[in-house]
């Protein structure tokens, strides 16, 4: 059984006991434990089920490489699936449950897959479930989906908050082991701005666990001194619990700081996503131990050798009383020695190498440990837990020589440098035959914005496999990075680590060498996804020869550990199957993040109120209080309508229309874009921008204008006012101000840069109120202060003055066909002016109205709306707006585009009005059908609806739309295809003039 030892444990505080629960069982651990350590201390080796075969799974590792031990953590708004127990710090009250089983972890029905595993090899689903056709969606897929998926889906809104922050440095050091710390010291002493990231809560990496000696003192002392020195430097920032997640172009690094994972609910952000911009990046991310491929290597109790050591040394937890060590290298002997020194039993070390020499084996022998050289594990015995191993000749086919009883197996297949950050932006790798691993190829680094190296690898991450070598390598890497940054490093001695002489490891990819197919079908490569040696060999046999094909066909390395344990082993098996060298086969691409990052952290602060900027007019709060139903218009919110108690939105809109047409309506038009264009060449410029002529507009007058893009398509419209000789004010649509301002600046800066024109976007300087209806003038007269009579301020003119004491600019323009004034006041007076209008207008029947009433009234008048009548494929000519297009001008933006065949065609669809013969509202978006079908069998069409409303004024449905040869077809009856509630139908409508109301403009010209 696994248990807590009576003494020891570098990281735990035995005085601080913490209670937690697993599958409802209440258990105890210590402060400083990981959840994995605490579970093992309570003999909870079985923690989950695998993805495909639902095999029992135990803890394998002690870090982020853990493939098996994933749990559901927390509950409600703090529920989190797939939480890795090896990287979860224990806290008081932690609640965890195991995943991917039904009904229970101990008894899982899904394990039936395990018994038919032979029938479910890699890619079996590509070869079956083909017939009968409907069965995939209705039968097979639901079963597969339900049995896959690991953790449960959260149900609630996240109770925590997240944030992001920017940081900048010369050198970013990722990894707080001795190599990273040494690199940071070199850079910090040189005065460089340095940030050091360590993914765990502790520094020192392997050296402190393995009892390395640096400069004659324990590695712990070196680490403490380094942290103290770094802490004293103002140019150095050291961050624990912060994982370097991904390296992106131009020195951009994402790092995930787990601020409050271990103190949930304390009010701090759960995670903080750091967006770091580094001059150079130094990756000192260490290495990950590889499993060995022997039959039954996935049983609970089979663990990585160094991880076993981690549990013993850091947490005083023994994974088993009797642990057999299986290895192809000397390093694993450290585990045997550590176990023995902790008073535990090590029945044997099974070493695949025939020739076992070196200091560590000698020490193990001296401790009386049996060493089986040239042997391998034939098979691990046991069901939900290891009960023993049978051993065989490594060179043989697996004939059993002996059986050894044990309750844990510590395996080591060698070490693979963590090259993720090196590789994210294209750093290349080289195969190191001595250590049988890929390491960064310094000659082919990822490149920075200046074409120089962006990332430097250091220490074990660079293949420097001993502490002494790692320190020297990190020192040199830091110096090289500083030199490239143009920062002078100070002279200094590399700390010296005592070196234990290790004999070379020997690559072992299959144990035993000549294992039978039956054994290979039980050798796990990817524990979580259940990919075995036999699966990779099958993929190769079937022609999935590229490493990407094999990965995708078998799902090797695609589990939540992203193949940290399985990739190299799988690659080696593939290379063997293809009879190629490993480097020829190559690796799959490393993609960020290094370990999974919570989506909430990536979304950052942007949720709820600050999900997106919400633009508010000065009257926004008034609208909300008035109970307006708001609609998004760009990032603005505009009142759609102001429903009164008991009214539907539709009723409210109709009331607003009628009231405005009969009495007085007030509209918040502040969102309308307002751009000042000024300069000696401003007139010339506007003549290029608009289809019409603006240079000839007299001072004091307004003119409606259209803007097209270079393709000729209509992009915006609005009223332009001539302010003075050199100054025009251009109104744009509500959504269009920023876009049109940018469009103006683009042409002024990049094409006509010698023209003397300045622009200023003053949209938000003014609140704008449209005072609309027969009583509009009465209201303004009551406010008083300026002459707004027909004579003094005729249609399409503007004037400055005061109204009710407010400084105003009044535009006599109309988008409703009513007598109408648009009044601009400084935004800081906007609300007061709006309220003054309501107060003064009460006696004239003033009511606010919203965008829908605005739309209906403009449709009644046949005015086009950008975004309704236009969709990016419509030219002004389509909308019968030829009157607003100058025939005389040689050039304007869009003119050349409109001359192209398709745009100049006489067969284009043109604007008309439609009235359903039965008076109903024609469905929005309906098409006018034409006879027959096209070559693809689609019904021919000849027009479509662009706007359609019930007109409260006319008490019938009205619509505008585009129709082939439309204006020539007045009075004709056409047929619309309709489609509602799944039922296709038709509707007949008459082609009419699009101006439905007050065609002669009697109402507005009063």
């Amino acid at each position: 059984m696994s248990t807590r030892l009576a003494k020891g444990g570098r990281l735990i505080d035995r005085a601080a006991s913490q209670e937690f629960s697993f599958n409802g069982k209440r258990l105890k651990g210590y402060k400083g434990d990981t959840l994995a350590a605490a579970l093992l201390a309570n003999d909870q080796m079985l923690v989950g089920r695998s993805f495909k075969y639902h095999r029992p799974r135990g803890i394998v590792a002690a870090g982020p490489e853990e493939p098996n031990a994933l749990v559901n953590l927390g509950k409600g708004g703090r529920f989190e699936p797939n939480q890795r127990v090896t990287t979860t710090e224990l806290f008081e009250g932690l609640e965890a449950t195991s995943q991917n089983h039904w009904p229970s972890l101990e008894f899982d029905v899904g394990v039936v897959n395990n018994y038919v595993a032979r029938f479910l090899p890699a890619g079996f689903y590509y070869k079956t479930f083909i017939h009968p056709r409907p069965f995939w969606k209705h039968v097979f897929e639901p079963i597969i989906r339900q049995s896959a998926g690991l953790g449960a889906a959260p149900k609630d809104r996240d109770a925590d908050r997240y944030e992001q922050a920017y940081a900048f440095c010369d050198l970013l050091v990722v990894g707080g082991g001795v190599a990273g710390l040494q690199a940071a010291l070199v850079a910090g002493r040189a005065g460089a701005r340095v940030i050091v990231l360590e993914q765990t809560a502790q520094f020192g990496g392997r050296a402190v666990v393995d009892g390395e000696v640096i400069d004659g003192k324990p590695a712990d002392d070196f680490v403490a001194a380094a942290l103290a020195e770094l802490g004293s430097m103002s140019n150095v920032t050291v961050k624990a619990r912060t994982m370097g997640a991904g390296v992106y172009d131009h020195g951009y690094v994402l790092a995930d700081e787990k601020v409050a994972d271990h103190t949930p609910g304390d009010g701090r952000p759960k995670h903080r996503l750091w967006r770091i911009r580094a001059g150079k990046i130094l990756t000192a991310t260490g290495a990950i131990e590889r499993p060995l491929s022997f039959a039954g290597n996935d049983l609970p109790g089979v663990m990585l050798a160094a991880s076993v050591r981690d549990y013993v040394v850091n947490f005083a937890v023994s994974p088993g009383d009797r642990t057999v060590v299986v290895t192809n290298n000397d390093d694993a002997y450290r585990t045997a020695i550590a176990l023995k020194e902790a008073g535990l039993s090590v029945p044997a070390i099974i070493d695949a190498r025939t020739n076992v020499t070196g200091e560590l084996p000698a020490k193990a022998r001296a401790l009386g440990i049996r060493i089986e050289a040239g042997r391998g594990v034939a098979k691990v015995l046991g069901g939900k837990r290891v009960t023993g191993v049978s051993i065989c000749l490594q060179a043989g086919e697996g004939a059993v020589i002996d059986e050894i009883a044990c309750d844990a197996v510590a395996m080591s297949g060698g070490w693979s440098p963590v090259v993720h950050l090196w590789s994210h932006c294209g750093g290349k790798l080289t195969w190191d035959t001595t250590n049988a691993h890929f390491r960064p190829d310094a000659a082919r680094p990822p490149l920075n914005h200046d074409g120089g190296a962006m990332v430097y690898a250091a220490g074990i991450a660079n293949g420097a496999m001993t502490t002494a070598a790692a320190l020297a390598d990190a020192d040199a890497a830091a110096r090289a990075a500083l030199e490239a940054l143009g920062i002078k490093a100070k002279a200094g001695k590399v700390p010296e680590a005592a070196t234990v002489v290790e004999a070379p490891m020997e690559a072992v990819w299959i144990m035993p060498q000549g294992a039978t197919p039956a054994l290979k079908a039980k050798m796990w490569l990817d524990y979580q996804n259940d990919v075995k040696v036999s699966d990779v060999q099958l993929a190769a046999r079937e022609g999935y020869e590229s490493v990407e094909h094999t990965k995708r066909y078998t799902t090797l390395g695609m589990a939540t550990d992203q193949g940290k344990l399985s990739n190299i082993n799988g690659l080696a098996i593939l290379a063997g199957a293809l009879n190629e060298d490993i480097p020829q086969v190559g690796t799959t691409t490393f993609r960020p993040p290094y370990t999974p990052v919570t989506l909430g952290a990536l979304a950052g602060e942007a949720r709820g109120e600050i999900f997106q900027p919400l633009r508010r007019t000065p009257m926004h709060g008034w609208h909300e209080k008035a109970g307006a139903y708001m609609e998004p218009v760009g990032l603005w919110r505009r009142p759609y309508t102001f429903p009164r108690t008991g009214e539907t939105h539709e009723q409210a809109v109709h009331r607003e229309v009628i009231n405005t047409r009969e009495k007085l309506g007030l509209l918040d038009a502040s969102t309308l874009g307002k751009i000042i264009v000024k300069g000696p060449d401003a007139g010339r410029f506007l003549d290029m921008l608009y289809t019409g002529v603006m240079s000839s507009l007299p001072v004091g007058k307004c003119r409606y204008g259209l803007m097209c893009n270079e393709q000729g398509f209509l992009s915006d419209d609005g009223v332009v006012a001539r302010i003075d000789e050199e100054t025009w004010l251009c109104h744009t649509t509500s959504g269009g101000a920023d876009r049109i301002h940018a469009w103006m600046e683009d042409w002024l800066q990049c094409e006509w840069w010698d023209w003397k024109v300045y622009t200023a976007n003053v949209t938000e300087q003014y609140a704008q109120v449209a005072v609309v209806g027969p009583n509009a003038r009465k209201l303004l007269e009551k406010l008083g202060g300026m002459d707004v009579s027909k004579e003094a301020l005729p249609f399409m003119q503007w004037a400055d003055g005061t109204l009710g004491g407010f400084p105003v600019r009044v535009y006599r323009i109309s988008f409703s066909g009513e007598l109408s004034y648009e009044i601009a006041v400084p935004a800081s007076l906007g609300l007061a002016f709006w309220e003054a209008c309501h107060k003064a207008g009460a006696e004239f029947g003033a009511m606010p109205y919203g965008t829908e009433a605005l739309h209906i009234m403009r449709a009644e008048k046949g005015f086009i709306m950008i975004g309704d009548e236009t969709d990016g494929t419509v030219i002004p000519q389509d909308l019968n707006l030829d009157w607003a297009i100058s025939k005389k001008k040689e050039d304007f933006l869009g003119k050349r585009g409109q001359m192209r065949n398709h745009l100049a065609s006489p067969d284009r669809w043109k604007l008309v009005g439609f009235e359903a013969l039965d008076g109903s509202v024609i469905p929005d978006g309906a098409y006018v059908v034409d006879a027959g079908v096209n070559a693809n069998g689609q019904r021919n069409v000849q027009g479509r609806i662009t706007s359609t409303y019930f007109s409260p004024t006319l008490k019938k449905g009205i619509a505008m739309g585009l129709l082939k040869h439309g204006p020539k077809r007045m009075g004709e009856v056409v047929e619309f295809g309709t489609f509602k509630n799944g039922v296709k139908g038709t509707l007949k409508a008459r082609v009419v003039d699009p101006v439905f109301f007050d065609k002669d403009g009697v109402k507005q010209n009063v």
Partner: protein
């Protein structure tokens, strides 16, 4: 070709699966072919498959610089839909979608087409009008879509935050037979079928030049030597401009990066595909349980297969707001692909200035869902030398005429 079936698996299981044959051959190139397709992605392989199946042309080589299916075919978010607005788009995407329905049976390879339903959320009134227009257009185009109200959206997607607050869901454009398929399997299935027809799939073979005589294509120079051909099809998304250059003409295409990501797998919680275009994000759940997420493209030319990370953040902000429960899921893996974009964001399936040389490119962010239809139309174009009705509108000369196929008009997006 040995047929795949549950019986074949049972038979093989008894001998530890040692008897499976190669899914496709890896031959050396012949001196000449009737047709060469450059690019063994989904579109190229589908083109070859339908050349053989529909026109009996099987003396075909498919030449691939890397590994078959290793480009955008294996990097997309696997969405299949045909609810397009414009007639030419609706026609080719619906053709593709209907071919997907029986593709597993046609190829004897389970591509896991899962018509689980696809929703495009309307979150502004403008979007509502756009989708109503699409629904009407689709009804006349023979594409089965419908407009559904918020309550039905919530029923189909229980995890959605229907009430906003920022962008309440006002309804959705729903295509019940839209869905997903297993992207790799599409490439592998076509490859296996092509190989079985006697076609040569030549991987790790880079095209270095295009040889022509009198304005007509003669063959291609490759890293494995010169290979002659009577007809040449260029189907190399992302690198279309480079190969077109070799053939001596310029394309109205730019290459940009498009990114996607998956979360860690969880138990099934979303049965349909959801696209939220107002906030720029889309999401589905794979059969493995991963949430598959995509968003927008970068705005600059890029061949690195790495995009800019802020696009991922924008997408996730939108999706966390739309589906609050995903906040505590984790991003497992993110990646990018290079897509080529034309002036109207619609594809090109076209003759070219070079005789007997044909181009298929410009699928932008919408390539995967089109694969069978694109292959079908391209095969017809190559076999007959003239486009059939499916390809007719996708000529590379349409830009000069101003005859766009613009899908952005109905608040739709091209992916």
């Amino acid at each position: 070709m040995k047929r795949y079936s549950v019986f074949a698996i049972a038979r093989e299981a008894l001998r530890y699966h040692t008897g499976w044959e190669r899914a496709w051959r890896s031959p050396e190139p012949k001196k000449e072919y009737d047709a060469i397709i450059v690019g063994a992605g989904g579109h190229g392989l589908a083109t070859a498959y339908y050349l053989g199946k529909n026109f009996g042309i099987t003396n075909v080589a498919i030449i691939e610089k890397g590994w078959l299916g290793g480009g955008n075919t294996g990097r997309n978010t696997t969405i299949i839909r045909s609810n397009y607005l414009q007639d030419p788009s609706a026609a080719i995407y619906e053709k593709a979608r209907s071919l997907y329905e029986t593709l597993s049976q046609d190829l004897n390879y389970n591509v896991m087409f899962s018509p689980r339903g696809l929703l495009m959320l309307a979150q502004t009134h403008h979007e509502v009008r756009g989708y109503l227009r699409t629904v009407h257009a689709n009804a006349l185009q023979g594409v089965a879509t419908e407009w559904i109200e918020p309550a039905r959206v919530k029923e189909l997607v229980p995890i959605i935050n229907i009430d906003g607050p920022r962008y309440p869901v006002l309804g959705a454009l729903y295509q019940a037979r839209g869905g997903t398929a297993r992207h790799d399997a599409v490439a592998w299935g076509y490859a296996r079928a092509c190989s079985a027809m006697g076609m040569d799939i030549i991987q790790q073979c880079e095209v270095k030049g295009v040889r022509s005589e009198g304005g007509v294509v003669k063959g291609v120079e490759t890293s494995k030597g010169y290979i002659g051909c009577k007809k040449l099809g260029i189907v190399v998304a992302g690198h279309s401009g480079q190969v077109a250059d070799m053939a001596g003409f310029r394309l109205p295409v730019e290459a940009v990066a498009l990114q996607a990501l998956v979360s860690e797998p969880i138990k099934p919680c979303m049965d349909v595909v959801v696209m939220a275009n107002t906030v720029h994000g889309y999401m589905s759940q794979s059969d493995k349980g991963e949430m598959v997420i995509g968003g927008g493209t970068d705005g600059f030319n890029n061949f690195t297969q790495r995009g800019s990370f802020h696009h991922i953040e924008e997408t996730l902000r939108a999706l966390v707001e739309t589906f609050p429960m995903i906040s505590r899921l984790k991003m497992l893996r993110q990646w990018g692909g290079i897509v080529d974009m034309t002036g109207d964001r619609s594809p090109i399936i076209s003759k070219t200035p070079l005789g007997n040389c044909f181009m298929n490119c410009g699928w932008g962010t919408g390539g995967f869902k089109a694969i069978p239809g694109s292959g079908w139309a391209m095969a017809e174009l190559m076999a007959k030398g003239e486009p059939g009705p499916l390809a007719a509108d996708f000529s590379m000369w349409r830009f000069k005429e101003g005859q766009f196929i613009d899908e952005s008009v109905a608040a739709g997006v091209a992916h």
